[in-house]
């Protein structure tokens, strides 16, 4: 082996490292090592100026490998690999040492110890660099197509954006109709357009495009492969109604259907038939038969020839380069008795209230009673101190005030009482709050330790609060209607997230790679997240994230070819005895059972293997090595550490 010439850079990280680790001492400790050609300290290793200096050093001195001791490799492994590459070094010869999270931050109470540990970590990295080999990355062909899961505003906007970029799109929606939640809203805050109009506008655009395939009533049921080539199976449940139909026949068919089930579109405020459409202008325009609730009585078939119970479930297989997840949210369902929910006739949720005021005109009536006093109780299911939902749902304050203002202009006799926990009409939405105050709405506030109470006395519903805005005075309102401002929670059905192994955050929404800088990418290469499935958002915010995700998905596949990491497991098939332990340990199904020279052995599927190394330690005969983490490299590191 030719003797290595290693360059070592030790970063101050402004002060993040050098406040606790004596970086100069670290430098001196490694400077004398035989294979270390140069050792330097730097204020910010990642700064442009230092990167240039590193390139110069490598080229001028013919360094064979570089070690940077700085922050977590999650932040900067790629940065410095790229530096090596720019200086014509194989980028896999680069070795990273983390002395910020692992030394300075972990031991901020012990400067001497932190320095000592940093020295060990850097020495171990140097030992690894001594054995680091040049590797070539694999090239994979990437499909220039994207599957979008969920056709709410986020999914629809992402589809249009990708279609504009000449990219093939398959838009998969599990409901029979597109639009997601926005189709359920009429009037919206900060615009005169209704939710249904926005959905119509987007749908009209979608269907003019040859490169978008819309699959409604469809779900992804399996996923194989990885970035560049995801092979998905899509199950499509039939509508049981042929596309060419006579509208009058169908109206008749809906009339004669004897089944009545709670209407989820109206949040169970009303009932619907088994053959249905949620609203007249809904897309696609063909109604659907809800086969789970249909009794097959055949009444509809008799009046409408377009009904066809012979339509069959279909399974389609597609291969796409990237997957964009836009499955949205569920409104929080309050627990039994939570602020009188389900125990009082007069208690409903915000989404129900929105549907209610949309459906009515003249006077506001609920369950036969004319409504005058409305109490809104904020933060139900959000900002919990007892439950799991510690987060704020971001847009319910604005949505509630908007609904209250809308209701008041439609039904001028009502009085609005807002039992809130500090209003969050951030940004320009503040204007709406001012409007509501001007129209005479009353605001009462408490903290988390003094939440309002709802009591039922006969057919009266009383909401009580110790209002902090009036010096803690107890105030009660006899409410004809109590509206629980329910927040956003992740979709209850997460089968599709599990298929892609998408990680979730503390709030159980899908988690991004980096909250600040990479909010639409996930740790699963090639899978992006958009809209409210990543966390509560209003429409504009959902669209921004959808277009961002579309851009990221597009930039992954637009070149038609991908570089994949050469970090994979390698099996020494002579040593392998096929015990199957590795197959069980692998989280990515990358291990195949094959026959080689008359012997059953394990083989690695390189395009799926992530090089995570889970298989190596379970292999009894020690037949597995992982590139860039070979036993020689790891042992040499351990030797310097102990």
């Amino acid at each position: 082996m030719k003797k290595k010439k290693i360059g070592v850079y030790i970063c101050h990280c402004g002060g993040n490292i050098s406040d606790y680790v004596d970086v100069e001492k670290v430098r001196q400790a490694v400077e004398g090592e035989d294979i270390v050609f140069l050792a330097k300290t730097t204020m910010f290793a990642c700064s442009d100026a230092n990167q240039r200096e590193m390139v110069n050093d490598i080229e001028a001195n013919g360094l064979t490998s570089v070690v940077v001791a700085s922050c977590s490799p999650k932040l900067h492994l790629l940065t410095f690999r790229n530096v090596s590459q720019r200086a014509n070094l194989n980028k896999y010869t680069y070795v990273h040492a983390n002395i910020r999270e692992q030394a300075s931050w972990a031991h901020s109470d012990n400067k001497i110890g932190a320095t000592e540990k940093a020295i060990h970590l850097v020495k171990a990295a140097i030992a690894k660099a001594n054995y680091a080999e040049a590797l070539e990355s694999n090239k994979v062909k990437a499909q220039k197509s994207v599957a979008i899961i969920g056709a709410g505003v986020a999914g629809m906007k992402a589809a249009i954006s990708l279609s504009n970029k000449d990219c093939e799109v398959i838009l998969i929606e599990k409901e029979p109709f597109v639009g997601g939640r926005v189709a359920q809203w009429n009037s919206l805050s900060t615009t005169t357009e209704t939710g249904k109009e926005i959905v119509k506008r987007l749908y009209d655009d979608l269907i003019t495009r040859d490169n978008i395939t819309i699959c409604t009533n469809s779900e992804v049921i399996s996923n194989k492969g990885s970035v560049g080539n995801f092979t998905l199976k899509i199950k499509t449940t039939p509508r049981y109604i042929r596309q060419s139909f006579h509208p009058e026949d169908l109206t008749r068919a809906i009339e004669v259907c004897p089944v009545s089930v709670p209407d989820e579109f109206n949040f169970r405020l009303t009932q619907r038939k088994a053959i249905y459409k949620n609203y007249p202008g809904e897309y696609p325009q063909t109604p659907v038969i809800d086969i789970k609730n249909c009794t097959r009585c055949g009444a509809c078939e008799k009046v409408c020839p377009a009904v066809d119970f012979n339509e069959k479930e279909e399974i389609t297989e597609i291969t796409v380069g990237s997957v964009l997840m836009a499955t949205g949210f569920d409104p929080y369902t309050p627990g039994y008795g939570e602020f009188g929910y389900a125990t009082s006739e007069n208690v409903i949720t915000l989404p129900q209230f929105k549907r209610l005021i949309d459906e009515q005109s003249g006077t506001l009536v609920y369950k036969g009673k004319v409504i005058k006093n409305i109490a809104y109780i904020y933060c139900v299911g959000s900002r919990q101190t007892k439950g799991d939902n510690t987060y704020c749902s971001r847009n319910c304050c604005t949505s509630t005030i908007h609904a209250a203002v809308t209701a008041k202009s439609k039904f001028p006799d009502i009085n609005n009482f807002h039992f809130n926990r500090g209003l969050r009409t951030y940004g320009k939405q503040e204007i709406l709050y001012a409007d509501s105050l001007r129209s005479g709405d009353i605001y009462l506030q408490s903290y988390e330790d003094g939440l309002p109470t709802v009591t039922i006395e006969g057919n009266k519903t009383i909401v009580k609060i110790n209002d902090i805005l009036t010096n803690g005075k107890e105030i009660e309102v006899e409410a004809d209607l109590v509206v629980l401002v329910t927040g956003m929670v992740p979709r209850a059905d997460n089968k599709v997230g599990t298929l892609f192994k998408l990680p979730k955050g503390r709030d159980k929404f899908y988690n991004e790679i980096h909250m600040k800088l990479r909010p639409v990418e996930t740790v699963i290469d090639g899978v992006t997240i958009a809209g409210a499935c990543q966390g509560p958002k209003n429409i504009a915010e959902s669209v921004n994230s959808a277009l961002s995700a579309a851009t990221k998905s597009y930039s992954i596949i637009s070149k038609g070819e991908l570089e994949s990491e050469p970090l994979v497991a390698i099996i020494d098939q002579d040593k392998c005895t096929w015990c199957g332990a590795c197959e069980k340990a692998c989280p990515f199904d990358a291990i195949l059972k094959v026959e080689d020279k008359g012997k059953i052995v394990a083989e690695i599927n390189n395009s799926v293997c992530k090089g995570c190394g889970m298989c190596a330690p379970v292999c009894e005969p020690d037949a597995i090595n992982v590139t860039a983490c070979s036993s020689t490299e790891i042992m040499s590191m351990i030797d310097t550490l102990v």
């Binding site: 993040n16 954006s161 803690g472 909250m515 800088l517 921004n544 994230s545 277009l547």
Partner: protein
């Protein structure tokens, strides 16, 4: 001055190189488009590069901004003009805009400058440092700040006495007083406006004593005091250099206040104040930190938890609007406020006060356009023509907007907005090819 006239072509022009403009430029460049990124300042990075740590992750801002900046400045598809302004934008057709770019002289040849700082040492003239928000001074020959990009000196010609000391001190002879303003004629297919925001000037609110009482500073100044590249290397109050131990934050300064002409909420100041409070509690374990607020707006992902964490650490939250601030002889400050919970007027003494100033529009962006009108919204932010369904579209086809130029926005929202603007711009180029 004689102007040289050159003409250049790019696919896209991005005006403003803050985090929004930078992200938008990268998205375009990574998809193969040639981008010209123009910023009027001497460095790219906008406000973010000046911050300490960022809420709610407490990532060090410099550590996450510099690699972005470095990616931008190295990208083969991105050309950067700092110290430059765009004007006279004309739409010639659906896929062609013309504009004038004015490159002000830096009086330093950036390629040759090694940032050795010898010119700084030699320069006899000291002025207030705008990049440290006036906390300390700098020379007239200076490197803007330690992590600036490009990392090169510049001559502040307005304050320079032309003594020539820097020129003599410079070992690479890169200082050149003969540099002139360059005017370049630019042709592009699409434009992204990412000109960011301005901060409310608390001098417009005399009752808080900013500018008069030395120990009343702004949150941006506090960002600099707690940044890793901080000017004093510790936290102290500017009046007498004492380490403060009773610190107050005044929220909504210049926001939610029709009397100063800004009725909207600035969306970021609650959170950045909570962040600073946490950092101060870490740096000065003995200090008391009190936040005076109207409502705490911790609405984003992880924000409410961050607020609760601050409470748990012992940050004192008081619901009340500050009426006025007065100064004691020892430099301490008396805050008069209405304590909402107690329902009465109160006074409290603090030894340092931080004003959490709000977000204002960067006015006059519409003036850059010549033959078409860029509409502004009622608050003078860049107007959105399809607010909900296409938030990045403006009143001019082919011109898109990103980041805080459309309204108050934190970093993740700026990144998403930049993603949307670049997506629209890419679609626009392809559709109008």
């Amino acid at each position: 001055m004689e102007e040289s006239l050159k003409s250049i072509c790019y696919d896209a022009l991005v005006i403003g190189a803050g985090i929004a403009g930078g992200e938008a430029a990268l998205n375009l460049a990574n998809t193969g488009y040639k981008v010209l990124l123009v910023d009027k300042e001497l460095s790219v990075g906008g406000k973010m590069i000046m911050l300490s740590k960022v809420f709610p992750t407490l990532d060090c801002a410099a550590c996450i901004t510099t690699p972005k900046v470095s990616e931008i400045s190295r990208h083969p598809n991105i050309t950067i003009f700092t110290g430059s302004e765009v004007s006279n934008i004309r739409k010639l057709s659906d896929n062609e805009f013309a504009a004038k770019v004015t490159k002000k002289p830096r009086y330093v040849h950036v390629e040759d400058c090694t940032a050795c700082q010898l010119c700084e040492k030699a320069c006899p003239t000291s002025v207030r440092d705008q990049y440290q928000f006036g906390l300390i001074g700098r020379k007239a020959a200076f490197i803007p700040f330690s992590i600036c990009s490009p990392k090169a000196a510049a001559i502040d010609i307005d304050n320079c006495t032309l003594c020539g000391a820097c020129e003599r001190a410079c070992p690479t002879h890169c200082i050149d007083f003969t540099m002139e303003t360059e005017t370049i004629e630019l042709h592009v297919k699409t434009i992204i406006v990412a000109t960011g925001f301005n901060l409310f000037d608390p001098n417009n609110m005399p009752r808080y004593g900013y500018g008069k009482f030395k120990n009343v500073i702004t949150a941006m100044q506090m960002e600099r005091e707690i940044a890793p590249t901080r000017p004093y290397h510790t936290i102290l109050r500017p009046g007498d250099g004492k380490v403060p131990d009773r610190i107050a934050y005044v929220l909504c300064v210049g926001s939610r206040d029709a009397s100063v002409g800004n009725p909207i909420c600035s969306q970021i100041c609650c959170m950045y104040s909570i962040k600073q409070a946490q950092l101060l509690m870490g740096a000065l374990p003995m200090a008391d930190v009190t936040i005076y607020y109207i409502n705490i707006r911790s609405f984003g992902k992880g924000f409410e938890e961050f607020y609760q964490q601050a409470k748990g650490m012992g940050v004192n939250f008081v619901k009340g609007k500050i009426g006025r601030i007065s100064e004691k002889e020892n430099g301490n400050l008396i805050l008069r406020y209405e304590d909402i919970n107690k329902g009465k007027l109160q006074e409290a003494e603090h030894d340092m006060v931080i004003l959490s100033t709000g977000v204002l529009p960067n006015k006059g962006i519409d003036g850059l356009f010549e033959n078409e009108t860029l509409y502004l919204d009622e608050f003078s932010f860049v107007g959105q023509s399809d607010k909900l369904a296409s938030p990045a579209k403006t009143s001019i086809g082919g011109v898109f907007v990103a980041g805080a130029a459309t309204g108050p926005m934190d970093i993740p929202d700026s990144i998403l907005s930049a993603g949307a603007a670049s997506s629209e711009a890419i679609s626009y180029i392809i559709q109008h090819a």
